[in-house]
């Protein structure tokens, strides 16, 4: 009976969800290419060759470094903005809370492709962003065509698109922090900042852990921004691991693409595990 309830889900989940994960793992140790799709018996087992080929490829190494750059800058930036907004909306203001929440959340629901049309234009050398910078006397770079500025440009865009999610998670978390604790500390003469640091932040630790893990999982998969904005360029400065895997898929190198994606899976599993341990240890 129970399996009757589960069977439609299990059938679809096994075929289109679980099986591809194992298939991808096994492809990563073969030399399968797009030509072998209909003749699976001509595929050879190559052990870890794809993995060593990956790390011997300077573009892949670059992709790993770019992904780390994106994660290391993007995650803290997103979290700080999200937390600051959540605190401001939770206890700093009384009016128009809902309006701010909806407005700040809006980028989350929009399609990256549609958003890219606008951001490509904003980032033009004479676009809106550089006009704003010029107003305060800064000569802005050619964001998307300068290898030094392409990644910061994509990080800014990704932060814009994502901070609404941790913001509402932090808001939910802040509602469970008893206001009396805060008030008691303030009456004992603690400054707002001090009360925030020694009461709110520690009580928010479980929420922070969830946010950090969720952001790690999604930021490590960094793909859509380079795909729609820069095609990985200029000079591979925005190629990410996912984008590299996608490109290899496009070239027909299915084995190599699968191996690259498994490097990503490993990184995601490791980082989630480490974060879990660190936050656990501090509780």
């Amino acid at each position: 009976m129970a399996w009757g309830f589960c069977s439609p889900f299990v059938a679809l989940f096994a075929t289109f969800g679980v099986w591809p994960v194992f298939s991808s793992l096994s492809m990563s140790v073969t030399d399968i290419t797009s030509r072998d799709v209909r003749t699976p018996f001509s595929v050879n087992f190559v052990g870890l060759d794809n993995y060593s080929a990956l790390f011997a490829d300077p573009t892949f190494v670059r992709a790993v470094l770019n992904t780390l750059y994106f994660v290391a800058v993007g995650i803290p930036l997103t979290m700080v903005i999200a937390l600051a907004l959540a605190v401001a909306l939770n206890s700093g203001i009384r009016r128009a809370k809902a309006l701010f929440r909806v407005g700040y959340f809006a980028p989350v629901v929009t399609s990256i492709v549609a958003v890219a049309v606008v951001w490509r234009y904003l980032y033009k050398p004479d676009g809106m962003i550089n006009s704003a910078l010029a107003a305060i006397g800064i000569h802005g770079p050619d964001w998307l065509n300068d290898p030094h500025w392409s990644m910061p440009a994509l990080i800014l865009m990704a932060v814009w698109r994502h901070f609404g999610i941790p913001m509402v998670i932090f808001l939910a978390g802040l509602q469970s922090v008893p206001a009396e604790l805060h008030e008691a500390a303030r009456m004992d003469g603690a400054t707002r900042w001090r009360a925030f640091r020694s009461i709110t932040l520690p009580l928010l630790r479980p929420t922070t852990l969830i946010v950090a893990i969720l952001l790690s999982i999604s930021y490590l998969q960094f793909f859509e921004e380079p795909f729609v904005m820069t095609s990985g360029g200029p000079l591979d400065s925005t190629v990410s691991i996912s984008y590299y895997a996608y490109r290899q898929f496009g070239f027909g190198n299915y084995g190599l693409a699968s191996a690259a994606s498994y490097v990503l899976v490993t990184a995601i599993a490791l980082l989630s595990f480490v974060q879990f341990r660190i936050f656990r240890a501090k509780v």
Binding site: L12, F16, V21, V109, V113, V117, L264
Partner: protein, 291 residues
């Protein structure tokens, strides 16, 4: 709050707040408003630009408000670029996935939460594991699989891989789990079979979870990009994001009026839905952390 005996009331909440607190509050509102304007500026530019002729969009110095508002971009999008069809395709795929997830995930969620059976634990841990597997990992074998089934460039190929999601089952299982067992047992004592119990007891109680799941699925599918880009190989199966992406790298890449009108077409239905159902959207995403 109106009590004026300070000390029991935090200073800044009392009516006669000190000047420094009021200044701080004004500053905070100012910052929040500036931040909000910056956050929404890309949307404003998108909507205003879509009703400008292209010449006006690329003009220097550029202005925010259109000098001569026009719907010519939308007209051309519908008459020459087939965006009506892409809109239909996007809606069809998203609605089919919503239906599939609502039905199949609630069934499986009920079994996982309220029925004991062999293999239950293994199945649930598989669901949890799949929640963190990145899409790019399953992407290549999924494409090979779908092509070998002869489903590439078809509606089925677009829909089947997303007809159920681990997130959907996880969401439903957690929700059904919190429904008191006594309700289920009462139904069983009244002689209701599992199917009756599911349909007349569980499903009606699940309405909030079903609403969340419907919204999350619709959002994910409406905006889904990578999979449709690979599977839809000819125009008649393009979804809106695919059409817009290919359109923007093609010969029309500099036709900003058309591009912005296309972007507006993709974004507007979701924004409207979001404005109407904002509580569900925000709650759903806050609870799952996934969009």
């Amino acid at each position: 709050m109106a009590t004026m005996t300070a000390r029991t009331v935090p200073a800044d909440r009392a009516a006669g707040a000190p000047r420094s607190t009021r200044t701080a509050r004004t500053l905070l509102y100012g910052t929040l408003i500036l931040g909000l304007l910056a956050t929404l500026a890309p949307f404003a530019w998108m909507f205003l630009g879509s009703v400008k002729p292209t010449g006006e969009i690329v003009a220097h110095p550029s202005t925010w408000l259109p000098d001569s508002p026009t719907l010519v971009n939308f007209d051309r999008l519908l008459s020459k670029q087939n965006f009506g069809l892409y809109f239909f395709n996007s809606s069809l795929v998203a609605m089919a996935c919503v239906m599939g997830n609502l039905l199949f995930c609630s069934m499986a969620g009920y079994a996982l939460a309220k029925i004991e059976f062999a293999g239950k634990r293994v199945l649930f841990s598989l669901v949890l594991t799949m929640l963190i597997i990145p899409g790019v990992t399953t992407f290549v074998p999924l494409f090979v699989l779908v092509s070998n089934m002869g489903l590439s460039n078809s509606y089925l190929g677009l829909i089947l891989p997303f007809l159920v999601t681990p997130l959907g089952v996880f969401l439903m299982r957690q929700f059904v789990h919190d429904i008191p067992d006594s309700l289920v047992e009462a139904a069983r004592l009244d002689g209701a079979g599992e199917v009756r119990t599911f349909l007349s007891v569980i499903l009606p109680l699940c309405r909030p979870a079903l609403a969340t799941l419907a919204i999350l699925t619709f959002l994910a599918q409406w905006n889904n990009f990578l999979w449709p880009l690979v599977v839809a190989q000819t125009e008649e199966h393009y979804t809106l994001p695919v059409a817009l992406a290919l359109f923007s790298v093609g010969a029309n890449g500099t036709n900003y009026g058309l591009l912005l009108a296309g972007a507006v077409t993709v974004v507007t239905p979701i924004i409207l839905l979001f404005l109407v159902l904002q509580k569900h959207f925000i709650q759903g995403i806050a609870n799952t952390g996934i969009k």
